[in-house]
């Protein structure tokens, strides 16, 4: 990211911030979409995050860290969105995921299983999984964004993967009695 553009935006230059917003929005939206699993909710999260970025830019000490900083704001907004979603009646849109393109590498059944299991994860685990497996960030980078120790990121990813894998394996097993699997 162009450091001078960030610095101009920090000084209140709206034109510079507009260019910054367009440069960063795809990445922010993609991450929000994967955490929230909802196209419109991701759009709302992007909108709120961009506004907070503008308002809080003067607090960013190191302009070269804008990417990690913007993810930190985005993840917090996503946590808020998920909290609000939980208060509403749960609505599951398993397939298709808005904007998704069918990936032949994964079966439809696997996608459904992952989708269902991922939606059961706590928001903190969702964020950690997306930042590692979608953004390919390192554990220290994720720890900086989530503002938790590296060990905590590692355990969040461990527990999230454990839950996802268990849910997929449970779905794969034949049902032996009412509502339960062997």
């Amino acid at each position: 990211m162009d450091r001078s553009l960030v610095e101009q935006a920090q000084r209140g230059d709206r034109e510079a911030f507009t260019r910054l917003a367009f440069a960063m929005s795809d990445r922010l939206f993609a991450v929000a979409h994967r955490i929230l699993r909802d196209f419109d909710a991701a759009g709302d999260a992007l909108q709120v995050t961009l506004l907070r970025m503008w308002q809080d830019l003067p607090s960013l000490n190191d302009p070269t860290r804008i990417e990690a900083w913007s993810y930190r704001l985005l993840v917090r907004v996503c946590y808020d969105q998920l909290r609000k979603q939980r208060r509403k009646a749960p609505v599951l849109h398993l397939l298709p995921l808005d904007g998704a393109v069918e990936d032949p590498a994964i079966s439809i059944a696997e996608r459904e299983q992952l989708e269902r299991a991922f939606r059961q994860l706590p928001s903190e685990q969702r964020a950690a999984i997306v930042l590692q497996y979608y953004r390919d960030l390192t554990l220290p980078e994720i720890a900086e964004i989530l503002q938790v120790p590296v060990g905590t990121v590692r355990s969040r990813i461990h527990y999230a993967k454990r839950a996802l894998r268990a849910a997929m394996e449970a779905d794969a097993r034949p049902t032996t009695r009412e509502g339960r699997t062997a």
Binding site: L28, F29, R34, D44, P58, I106, L114, E124, V130, A166
Partner: protein, 260 residues
């Protein structure tokens, strides 16, 4: 190893499959908001950041503390008799008597952490907040009521490929709320949930307690779990996989003694 790599690849492929471009309408809507909004000074942002992750109950405590400090400062500077008679002692608010004994700051001194682990116990990982609260619960099970939930901590102890131990505590605003949560968590370990076997002998921990053995948590087929409640705190000590039953009990006793 291959199984793990395959799962990682599946996860990556699944996450790759989604929207990559932000619709411009969202960006322009945000920029409209930006147009009407001023930037904030760095100090104000920093102060707000301290509050952003606080649970409502903690926020109430901090706000109350700030008000008390303000009143105390006022009385110190202006004097208690200025503007009328001095303050009279007020009765304890009823909400205070209902509040639980423990607060969020007690959690690190009750569970086993790297700072307070006895010799022979090494903490490998920690979890906090809602993520910690949900660890012992079944994915896909009925949701736990979090209305009065304040905070939770969990640590993994002496973890190996074949087993280990867990120290866990969840804090609720009141003893009544913790009682409800305890009932829910006990239920989730029994026939309605993980289907662990409940011991007929009460382990005698805290105000109420239960212990379970069997398969749970989607990790190992053998686990031993002590669950108990002390006032507004629900606690657990767990051995998973290849564990020593005496060690699980001693972790439970250690945590319980720290609540006294």
């Amino acid at each position: 190893m291959n199984r793990s790599r395959d799962f990682d690849e599946t996860l990556r492929d699944w996450l790759d499959d989604g929207a990559d471009h932000a619709p411009e309408r969202f960006i322009w809507a945000a920029l409209d908001d930006v147009e009407r909004s001023a930037q904030r000074g760095a100090w104000r942002v920093s102060l707000e950041e301290r509050f952003v992750n606080m649970k409502p109950a903690v926020l109430v405590l901090v706000t109350t503390a700030a008000i008390i400090v303000a009143i105390a400062t006022y009385q110190l500077v202006v004097g208690p008799n200025v503007g009328g008679p001095g303050p009279t002692p007020s009765p304890t608010p009823s909400s205070q008597s209902e509040a639980g004994r423990f607060s969020a700051t007690d959690l690190p001194s009750i569970i086993v952490t790297a700072a307070n682990a006895p010799e022979g116990l090494a903490v490998d990982a920690s979890e906090f907040g809602e993520a910690a609260l949900l660890v012992p619960l079944r994915p896909g099970g009925p949701p736990i009521d979090q209305a009065a939930f304040v905070d939770a901590r969990m640590t993994n102890i002496n973890s190996t490929e074949t087993g280990g131990y867990v120290s866990w505590a969840a804090l609720f605003e009141t003893a009544a709320a913790a009682e409800v949560a305890f009932g829910y968590i006990v239920n989730e370990h029994g026939s309605a949930g993980w289907e662990m076997e409940r011991s007929s002998v009460d382990p005698g921990l805290g105000d109420e307690s239960a212990s379970f053995t069997g398969a749970a948590y989607n990790i190992f087929p053998t686990n031993e779990t002590y669950l108990w409640r002390v006032d507004n705190l629900v606690l657990a000590a767990v051995g998973v996989g290849d564990f020593d039953a005496g060690q699980v009990r001693s972790i439970a006793d250690l945590m319980d003694s720290r609540t006294q």
